[in-house]
């Protein structure tokens, strides 16, 4: 077990800066030994140095009593205040800059947000309008597709539809038992708000079969397509002017009618 070297008053002398001597002397050896121990974190030397501090500081009290001038404290306190005020002013200015910056940023963001909201509303309106137009286009495309399919079939037979009234509406019907009926008509009187035109398929036997209602455009023209398989032998087609929204059995007057000579 190793023992710690007895350094005695070397701690106090070391602190006083009085541990001197040429190389190889006792003082120089103790100084180097103490430095080495302190560098190595020696607990005993560290503790010895702490005690030595208290002893060395006590020597200071051997000085004759003296009182500093009253102006010393006043000047000292005056030196503290500017530093503190300067720091305070800096902190105050920094805080205000921060608050101002936040306010400007908030105003800009609010303004930008309002602009974006307007743009969003405008785009929403455009989207709705586009969707309506698209649905309309889709309906018209489906309508035209149905018309084309019916008219373009080889089994489709054309039927001239004649007027039954004084005004001479005219038209052409295309009947396909597998696909349906297309009616192209003109010079029809607008049905009005409380009436509607209704197309009927007239079987050779039995009651007429409803084939859809329609309204004409402002010039009295219409292209109406009824899609569906027709099971019965078709004797012809007719158009009636029905009250209200029409129904499954004709009630109104026949406006146009056409019959095959020998059925479809």
């Amino acid at each position: 077990m190793s023992t710690h070297p007895q350094l005695g008053e070397a701690y106090e002398l070391y602190l006083l800066g009085a541990l001197d001597g040429p190389e190889g002397s006792e003082g120089a050896a103790q100084r180097e030994l103490l430095r080495a121990h302190l560098s190595a974190g020696c607990a005993e030397c560290s503790s010895g140095l702490k005690r030595a501090h208290a002893v060395v500081a006590a020597i200071a009290l051997a000085a004759p009593e003296a009182v500093p001038g009253s102006g010393v404290k006043r000047e000292l306190l005056a030196q503290l205040a500017p530093a503190r005020n300067s720091r305070f002013r800096f902190a105050f200015a920094a805080a205000w800059t921060l608050v101002l910056g936040l306010a400007v940023s908030s105003a800009w963001l609010w303004h930008r947000s309002a602009g974006l909201e307007e743009q969003t509303a405008s785009l929403e309106t455009q989207r709705n309008q586009t969707q309506v137009a698209l649905r309309q286009a889709e309906r018209e495309a489906a309508h035209l597709r149905a018309v084309t399919e019916i008219i373009g079939r080889t089994d489709t037979r054309a039927l001239a539809v004649k007027s039954t009234g004084a005004a001479p509406p005219f038209g052409q019907a295309f009947v396909s038992r597998e696909r349906g009926v297309v009616l192209i008509a003109g010079n029809l009187t607008p049905a009005g708000a409380d009436h509607t035109y209704e197309l009927w398929i007239l079987p050779k036997t039995g009651a007429p079969v409803a084939a859809g209602t329609f309204q004409t455009d402002s010039s009295g023209s219409v292209v109406h397509a009824y899609t569906g398989t027709i099971t019965a032998d078709v004797a012809g087609v007719a158009v009636t002017l029905e009250p209200g929204k029409g129904g499954s059995a004709p009630k109104g007057p026949i406006v146009m009618v056409a019959k095959f000579a020998n059925g479809a």
Binding site: L19, D20, K50, R51, A54, I59, A60, L61, L76
Partner: protein
């Protein structure tokens, strides 16, 4: 109807009792110890100038006396005193707030600055083996003091410890502390053999250590 009789002698006794209580209260308040240095240093670290003023009033005299003893010029000592307390103000946050007394720290900082000032003026210590700042790290305000000793023993009590030393012992210690002289320099200055100086130094430090620790 009951009759109330006022006895003037009783009133006088009551007044005396009240005065006695007030006097006791004032004496207790006056004798009550102020806040510890560690608490004051904590307040100073937060920018409390009143706490700084209290610390100054408490310790400026012994620190100034020590500085004046080293630099021997009142104006320079007062400048150094301001530097020392400004250092305390700046580094208060780094101080060990559990420590009882800040006086040893102030004394050591003051000694180092004063000796540096003297040395830079006369260039006497160039090439000295052990600069003072090497042993007192001023940047670390957590001074390695057994400062509890300083709290338990008043400045007067510590001065009384110094008074136990004989003239020669006190002389060599003062030359080391206030002049920053090495033992060989003390030997030369006093015209005494090195061994004698070492003996006086050892005896003086031993007496101080026994009295203080």
């Amino acid at each position: 109807m009951p009759r109330v009789t006022i006895c003037y002698s009783n009133v006088r006794m009551l007044v005396y009792a009240v005065l006695l209580c007030v006097g006791a209260f004032l004496m207790a308040a006056a004798s009550r110890p102020g806040p510890r240095d560690g608490e004051l240093m904590l307040q100073i670290a937060q920018g409390d100038q009143r706490a700084f003023s209290t610390i100054y009033d408490r310790h400026s005299r012994p620190v100034f006396a020590s500085l004046l003893r080293i630099v021997r010029e009142r104006g320079a000592a007062e400048d150094l005193l301001q530097e020392v307390f400004l250092s305390l103000w700046k580094h208060a946050a780094r101080y060990d707030h559990e420590a009882e007394s800040v006086l040893p720290w102030l004394l050591v900082i003051g000694r180092n600055r004063a000796l540096d000032k003297v040395r830079s003026a006369v260039h006497r210590y160039e090439g000295q083996a052990q600069p003072i700042d090497e042993v007192f790290d001023l940047r670390d305000a957590r001074a390695n003091f057994e400062s509890g000793i300083w709290h338990d023993q008043s400045v007067d009590r510590i001065r009384a410890c110094m008074a136990q030393l004989n003239e020669k012992e006190r002389r060599v210690l003062e030359l080391a502390y206030f002049e920053g002289l090495s033992q060989s320099e003390i030997s030369s200055q006093l015209g005494e053999p090195m061994g004698t100086v070492k003996t006086w130094t050892r005896n003086g430090l031993n007496k101080l250590r026994k009295a203080l620790l």
